[in-house]
Assembly symmetry: C2
Homo-oligomer: 206 residues x 2
C-alpha cells in the first residue's frame, strides 16, 4: 500500500470559493489516501472573494515538500502575481511535488513563477488575456476543460477545477475510484478534457 | 431597487464542503444583491467532514431574521438531528425567512424541525433512507435534482445544491442572471429539476 499523499491548497485574500472547495470535496472523500493541508502566508482566517473565510492551518514558509500542489484563482491573483515571496514559495513547493496544479486564474500564478514555461496549459476563459499574459513562454490552450502536461494539470475557470481534480484522482487511484467520487457527490463529471463549451462562449475559438 | 437579501449558511462540525461553498460561489457573485452570513452555534473555525475549516462569523442564537436560510448536509447531520437547540434555531430562522433551503442531508435537519411537513422535498440519493426517516409527514420525491414547494427549496446530494442555488437566483434575479453566473464560473448548469441520473443509480426508481 502506498503512503498517504499530501494535497496542499494555497489560500490568499480574495481566493475563489469553488476553486478551492470543489477539488477538496473530492480529495477529502479519500482520507486514507490524501491528507489536505490548507496553506497561506501566515495562519488563520483568510477571506475569499465571495466573503466567507477559510482557515489556513500551515504557514507556507514552514510547509514541508508536498505531493500535490493546488493553486486556486480568484480576484486575489491579480495582486499575488506581484507577491515575490508567495511566487518563490510556489516555486519551492512545485520543485518537489509529484503533481503541480492550478484552477482558473491560479494558472497566472504558476505562469508567473515560470512553472508552466514550455508546457501546454489552460486557464479561465473569461480572464484569458490577463492570465495568459503572465506566461509568454507557455503554450496556452484556449479550448480545454483542463490540460495535463507531464506532472502539471491546469484547469479552465472555477467549476472546471472539479473535473480536473477527478482526472487527477483517476490518474492516482484509477478511473473507477474517480467515478465513484462523482456518484457519491451526485456530480455529473465532464470526463473529456477537450469538451469546453466556454471557449466558444468567450469567443476564443469559432 | 430592492434591499440586499441576507443569505445565512449554517455550519456545524462535519459539514460537507461542497454543500456549503458550491451555492455560496453563486450567491457571492452578486454582492449588491446578497450578503452572505456564516452561522454556527458559537463563532470561529468549524471543521468540515473533509478536514478544512471555515469561519463562522455570527452565533446562530444572535442571528437576526434572514431572507434566505441554507442548511447543508455532511456527516455531522447524523449528530445534529439530536441537537435540540440547533433544531430550535432553524425553526426560528425559517419562520421569518423568505426562502428556506437545504442541500443534501441538510433536508434531514429541516425535516426534524418539522419545516418540511406536508411539503414535497428531496435529499441525497445515497443517504435517502436515513434522511427521509427524519420526516414521516414529508412527501419525499425520490427522483429530483431539486424540489421547490412554496418558499422551500430542497436539493439532492452535494453537487445538486449548485443547481438549486442557481434556480433560486433565477427566481429572485431572473433566469438570465442565473445563466450569467453559471457562465462566469464555467459551470454546466442542470436547469431541469426533474433531471436526476442519481435516483436511478441508487435504485430509488427504475
Amino acid at each position: 500500500m502506498e503512503a498517504k499523499r499530501t494535497v496542499g491548497m494555497v489560500l490568499f485574500d480574495g481566493f475563489e470559493l469553488l476553486d478551492v472547495f470543489g477539488p477538496l470535496e473530492f480529495f477529502g472523500r479519500y482520507p486514507e489516501q490524501f491528507e489536505i493541508l490548507m496553506l497561506a502566508e501566515g495562519m488563520g482566517a483568510i477571506r475569499s472573494a465571495q466573503g466567507p473565510a477559510a482557515m489556513a492551518d500551515i504557514d507556507l514558509a514552514n510547509c514541508l515538500p508536498l505531493d500535490i500542489l493546488i493553486v486556486p484563482g480568484g480576484r486575489g491573483t491579480r495582486r499575488e502575481v506581484y507577491n515575490e515571496s508567495l511566487i518563490a514559495e510556489l516555486r519551492r513547493l512545485a520543485e518537489n511535488a509529484q503533481y503541480v496544479t492550478s484552477v482558473c486564474t491560479g494558472a497566472g500564478l504558476l505562469a508567473k513563477a515560470g512553472l508552466l514555461d514550455g508546457k501546454r496549459a489552460t486557464t479561465n476563459k473569461l480572464a484569458y488575456a490577463w492570465a495568459t499574459s503572465q506566461g509568454p513562454k507557455v503554450y496556452w490552450v484556449p479550448e480545454a476543460r483542463w490540460v495535463e502536461d507531464g506532472n502539471v494539470f491546469t484547469s479552465a475557470g472555477v467549476s472546471a477545477g472539479m473535473d480536473m481534480a477527478l482526472a487527477l484522482i483517476a490518474k492516482i487511484l484509477g478511473i473507477e475510484t474517480a467515478r465513484e467520487a462523482a456518484v457519491y457527490t451526485e456530480y455529473i463529471w465532464n470526463e473529456d478534457p477537450s469538451s469546453d463549451p466556454f471557449a466558444h462562449l468567450a469567443g476564443l475559438v469559432d
